[in-house]
Homo-oligomer: 450 residues x 2
């Protein structure tokens, strides 16, 4: 036990209002207007911090990404308006002390100067608790908010993302950590030799710099990434410090875990420089029967039109309306969306012989992530198994509905994990990096200086 | 007195760390690292709110805009790293209750979807206290952070800005105010007829929408604008609800005031739909002699290289290094920067027969804005004169250094203004619009419906 307790699992609280289940907003205890209610998010953040979570994780889209055929169908969904994550996390930085704050931002529809700057600003506001979930976006609906008809190809999005990271790192490294002198008498604000103007000139970006924010407290925000395609894994091997991934079985998780860690060496990195956190959708009851009842309550609230729309999105914008809902999933083309997730959902349907209806019901909660259900001990068993057997370094917890699903996890499951020596009783450090066990990146100009 | 007290002056607190005077960071009481210190800004915000200011105003650049010939010269400036305003104001929203929060963002280097969304998010975080200072940016240095060598022409920047506003308004009006039903039983999140997808297709922007934030509490954030050129005034007449302007004399201020208000009718607007707020740089002492001493203390700290750089920037990137510093200002070309400010500074030099050195010292504090100095009563007299004689509806106060210059204004000048019935004792409303006396804009789709 004492050896095992040296390695704590890491936990993310993935908190979209009003929860992850597609019918969460219809749950009697959910707050459907929570997406734009700061008191709601303040309360969620304080609960997650009470549960010693490493970070709050906010997904995001540069627009509504829901697949719908008309406004009437869209009105059956319950999550189309919410805070923009960088503004929300800046506000949450003030009311929290320890928990990390990870926002999603797209490299496809943003400029590196703005993104590098906003995350640096958040890192200062939070005293070194910022994380950036780097996404390349996956829908044409988002592209259409930025002068495009269709999103760039998967390959182009990743090529742009790779250069985006190079530019962001150059901007964060503009000023060495000890650059600022504040010497009032000599009139010298900073040490000129410790300013490095990027003058980046590449394929996608020409960015002069320097950044107008000093080097962030963490050096760089913690880089999180969720792409599991071949391009996605290569990107992760170079840049990611946390990988958020969808894995269904321990064997798949172990293969992904060892595979992605092995790829780090290609970029001169060590296995412990990457934290692997599969997504987990936990339905927690005081007993497994109570958990079953909670799940059935949500499943009974799924609107068929919303279920079909969800499936359409997960499969990459394919139109299933011509196929019988109680028949099998047809053969599908490869699209330019999230290729790894499409394959995962497709394989699940084939493997389990599911009809279209059974398939959308099966993804209404976890959406392709791992679905676990049971008593606190049973939930802890399932997390422990993957953690001990190197399928995961931790988990991004996706509560079915909020705030209840988060309360259940914090009040019922966390104490079991702590008792087993699997999870911290107190935060280890002051920054997100310190809590995740990640080193602070050295300024690239010091590496050159040697 | 009773009639006059019906009209209160409006006050903005323009708060760049470490203050407006170019040598502020060298002042013994200034905090040169304040630009990235949240506790510093929290304290400033609470002081401004204690003084019943309408709003905090944060200027911004999409990059360092300082004019310098090398890193050594740049190191003599004291304000090149600071928080990004939208993240900072989101955090300040949590620690304040009444004061408005106005951030600058450029229409030239941003996309309307991101900007409309972030201000809508800030408006929700603050309960309706957001303001957007719309700028088109004025330097090539910023353009060079966004794939360009030079900034677009003044005319192109304004054409883009006008379309940008049209798109932003369409996005804010995507959802009618009473669109959201949250009807859990019927599975109906919103009323389909009250969603208006923009499908904007224009010269600069093609933006589908809808926004993924509901209509802001204020309808739109308060629109602030500072351009005083012909293009700038036309833009203000159409869109601005607060104009921040640089005026030197009462006669000039009155001409600007009546001129800009007269232009509103071109866009079907009434004179009281625009609040005119000249910038004022106040040096406040308990006596006028103490004020003189405070000013001289700052003037003595001006580094000649910094003074020359400031002048170069105000005059639109012109190189003055070949001209003797104690000689007259040469004839200058018109550039693509801030044309109105160039003219103002140029006229000042000509009118007063200033040498280059005298000119940069004269703008080291107010930078072309109105400079007033004296005891609290004398300061109040000067504000009252412009306010009573319709040179201003209020003032954007530019403290020489922080926090001292703001403390002086709040503790010494505000009580005099209140005693004279010129300024509020308590906030009138809960939103920035209510405090400024501005109406909440009606959704354009309701205007069409009639």
């Amino acid at each position: 036990m004492s050896n095992r307790s040296q390695r704590f699992m890491k936990l993310g609280a993935f908190l979209p209002a009003p929860g992850h289940h597609i019918a969460a907003w219809r749950h009697p205890d959910s707050q459907p207007a929570g997406g734009l209610d700061f008191d709601y998010y303040r309360s969620l953040a304080l609960t997650a911090e009470r549960g010693k979570f490493d970070m709050i994780f906010l997904s995001d889209g540069a627009g509504i990404r829901t697949h719908y055929k008309d406004e009437d169908e869209l009105s059956r969904w319950g999550r189309m308006v919410h805070f923009e994550p960088l503004t929300l996390l800046s506000a949450l930085a003030v009311v929290t002390k320890h928990i990390g704050l990870t926002a999603t931002a797209s490299t496809t529809y943003n400029e590196p100067f703005h993104i590098a700057r906003k995350f640096a600003s958040l890192d200062y506001l939070s005293g070194g608790r910022s994380g950036w979930n780097v996404v390349t976006s996956v829908t044409d609906l988002e592209a259409q908010n930025f002068n495009l008809e269709r999103q760039p190809t998967h390959a182009v999005r990743y090529a742009r993302a790779r250069e985006f990271m190079v530019v962001a790192a150059k901007l964060w490294d503009s000023w060495e950590d000890d650059c600022f002198l504040y010497d009032k008498a000599a009139g010298r604000f900073f040490e000129p030799d410790k300013l490095h103007i990027p003058y980046h000139d590449g394929e996608f970006f020409k960015v002069r710099g320097p950044l107008n924010v000093a080097r962030p407290p963490q050096g760089y925000p913690v880089i999180v990434q969720a792409g599991s395609s071949e391009d996605g894994q290569d990107f992760a091997a170079q840049w990611a410090e946390v990988v958020f991934t969808a894995q269904q079985t321990l064997e798949q998780a172990q293969a992904f875990y060892s595979g992605i860690k092995a790829q780090l060496s290609r970029y001169g990195r060590q296995p412990d420089e990457l934290v692997v956190m599969p997504g987990v959708f936990p339905v927690v009851g005081r007993t497994s029967m109570e958990a079953e009842e909670k799940y059935e309550q949500l499943q009974a609230l799924v609107d068929p039109a919303v279920g079909m729309g969800l499936l359409t999105g997960l499969l990459g914008d394919v139109d299933l309306s011509d196929y019988p809902v109680d028949g099998p999933l047809p053969e599908l083309p490869v699209t330019e969306g999230s290729t790894s997730r499409q394959q995962l959902v497709y394989d699940q349907a084939r493997h389990q012989g599911l009809t279209i209806r059974e398939l959308y019901l099966s993804v209404s909660g976890a959406r392709g992530h791992r679905f676990i259900l049971g008593s606190p001990e049973e939930i802890a068993d399932q997390l422990e198994e993957w953690f001990i057997h190197r399928g995961a370094d931790g988990f991004n917890i996706m509560p079915p509905y909020l705030p209840g699903g988060l309360d259940d996890f914090v009040d019922l499951v966390v104490p079991v994990l702590q008792k087993r020596g699997l999870f911290r009783n107190e935060y280890e450090g002051g920054t997100l990096r310190e809590n995740l066990g990640l080193k602070r990146p050295v300024n690239q100009h010091l590496l050159v200086k040697g």
